[in-house]
Subunit: 337 residues, 2 copies
């Protein structure tokens, strides 16, 4: 496995206790499914040893404060708010996508019920704004306003993604634009919210937001590659999983948009109603690879990461956190899980 | 039908175009189910002649600005934000309660899909905070902060209501406290948000918030009576509907909490797994009436309304809007739909 930058773990240790504290303000009925979702307890209420997510957003929020010369703690509140939004969207997305597993555990709707998942997500959604607004200052209000905009873009991306299911052909550009909303907007917010809370210069905030947005698209491009060609032992998902679910991810969209024999064959497989067997999945992987879908997606990841790193050069930042932001960008490209 | 105060229609004409304008900022995929929900178009996208809700919250928000001497327009932004939260919760509640009809039309999850309903609700939820925060001022921030708190209480009330299904006995007080969250908190916010946006005195804001909270509980108590004994031709729901759905509403909770033969008989009916037939529903109505559940709920509505009106006397308000707030309280008690 590609090693995860230590800065992610450092940020988690600062931010996670604050998320845990914020969650205790929820009503008793909702605390339990929410704590389960975060991997802090099991369905029966016992403590959990589950692994949490990579913690990319908390790290970006904390580093964005440090990058403009503020202490990590200044970014932590922003990290909490962004993580609450991110996790509300995960809980609701799992309902929408019908996903039964997340990080090797049953999703909230599967472990509890769709009803519990709807309302637990709603509660985290509100809580994100509440933590920023309960003792408001001009910078917290600015952070909340940006978070609301990013959340609207994220939901628009998710709605576009849902609409892809009913569109026979989705272009590569449609995919990138959908991911700019679904993943890029909130990552841009995460990567700048610490700077916003530190009353940084506008140029610094814009640079960090751009960095985060592009990092988000690159992250998703790599995700789309891992979703087809990832090592099942490392990703925890069977090979070709996105194809089995007939997801119109970037490599697939690229291939489908070509007017070639490969695209026609893949289109027919995607249009059929039967479950794809292992042989068909291998065939689809090969078709996409030959059509250049994998390479185009890798190029996109590379281009977006280059843009992300260039964005960091458009303003002045403190050296150590700047290096760590760059290290995160490299990790996003190199990661295998 | 009990006539609806003309102030509700006046507020609707001010507020509805502003909600419609706010909704146009959503992404194309979400505008359609949201416009359907508001009764502005049909599933096929054609204009709708559907009736919208009573518009209680917009009226309260507008009157709360006028009551402290500000123009109606000052309250309108608050009305938009509260209505967006209220409607997000309706869309999600209909999923949770499995309700297929709202205002004589299919609910969003039924007409579109659960997925569309989840994400459309989410989009309205975010939009509520976005409209208050996009050009922030100290009073808009205060309004957003109060709205977040009220939404958290509303969701806690909804979660408590869901938990009632798994509790064999729910007390009358449990019910009132659940409704104080589920309905009271947002009505308190609606009835004070116009005053908050008008930078009113703290005593005025507190008085209006108390009025709205108590009005909300009274509204729900009347709803619980109509849900059992309402005239089907006026309510649009079959007689005894809440009993058919085995809802633990106030009259039922009162009866179940008594240690009497009536409570035992009703408890057995609620514990059985068969669909209740017409004869059983009539029997349940009679049991609850004889046990005093209807009277106790009517008394509660009366007590809460008295408290609501008293709250209005704890601060100074402008005469005409004050009279209209009182008129709304009378309507809430007298209404038959």
């Amino acid at each position: 496995m590609t090693p995860v930058p230590s800065t992610l773990e450092r940020a988690r240790q600062i931010v996670e206790p604050e998320i845990e504290a914020a969650v205790t303000s929820l009503c008793p009925e909702l605390i339990h499914p929410v704590r389960y979702h975060f991997g802090w307890e099991e369905v029966d209420g016992s403590p959990s040893l589950a692994k949490s997510g990579k913690g990319l957003r908390p790290a970006l929020a904390v580093l964005s404060a440090e990058a403009v010369g503020a202490p990590a703690a200044t970014g932590a509140l922003g990290a909490v708010a962004v993580e609450l939004i991110h996790n509300f969207s995960l809980i609701h997305d799992d309902i929408i996508d019908g996903d039964t597993k997340r990080r090797h555990r049953a999703t909230v709707w599967k472990a509890f019920s769709v009803d519990d998942a709807v309302i637990s997500g709603d509660a985290l959604h509100t809580l994100a704004f509440q933590v920023l607004l309960e003792e408001p200052s001009s910078e917290k209000v600015e952070a909340a306003s940006r978070l609301a905009k990013a959340t609207t873009l994220m939901l628009a991306g998710q709605a576009a993604d849902m609409a892809f299911n009913n569109q026979p052909v989705v272009t590569f550009e449609d995919c990138v634009s959908m991911e700019a909303g679904k993943t890029g907007a909130l990552l841009g917010c995460a990567a700048s919210i610490g700077a916003v809370l530190s009353r940084a210069q506008e140029a610094q905030i814009v640079a960090l937001d751009n960095y985060g947005q592009k990092l988000g698209i690159a992250f998703q491009a790599v995700d789309d590659i891992l979703g087809i060609w990832g090592n099942p032992e490392i990703t925890g998902k069977p090979a070709g999983n996105d194809l089995r679910e007939r997801k119109k991810s970037m490599p697939v969209a690229f291939t489908l948009s070509l007017k070639s024999s490969e695209s026609e064959e893949l289109e027919a497989m995607y249009a059929a109603s039967n479950d794809l067997n292992e042989l068909e999945i291998k065939k689809a992987m090969q078709l996409i690879e030959e059509a250049g879908g994998r390479e185009r997606t890798q190029d996109e990841a590379q281009t977006q990461l280059k843009g992300a790193l260039e964005a960091l050069h458009s303003a002045e930042f403190h050296q150590r956190p700047l290096e760590e932001l760059k290290e995160i960008a490299i990790f996003v490209r190199e990661r295998d899980h």
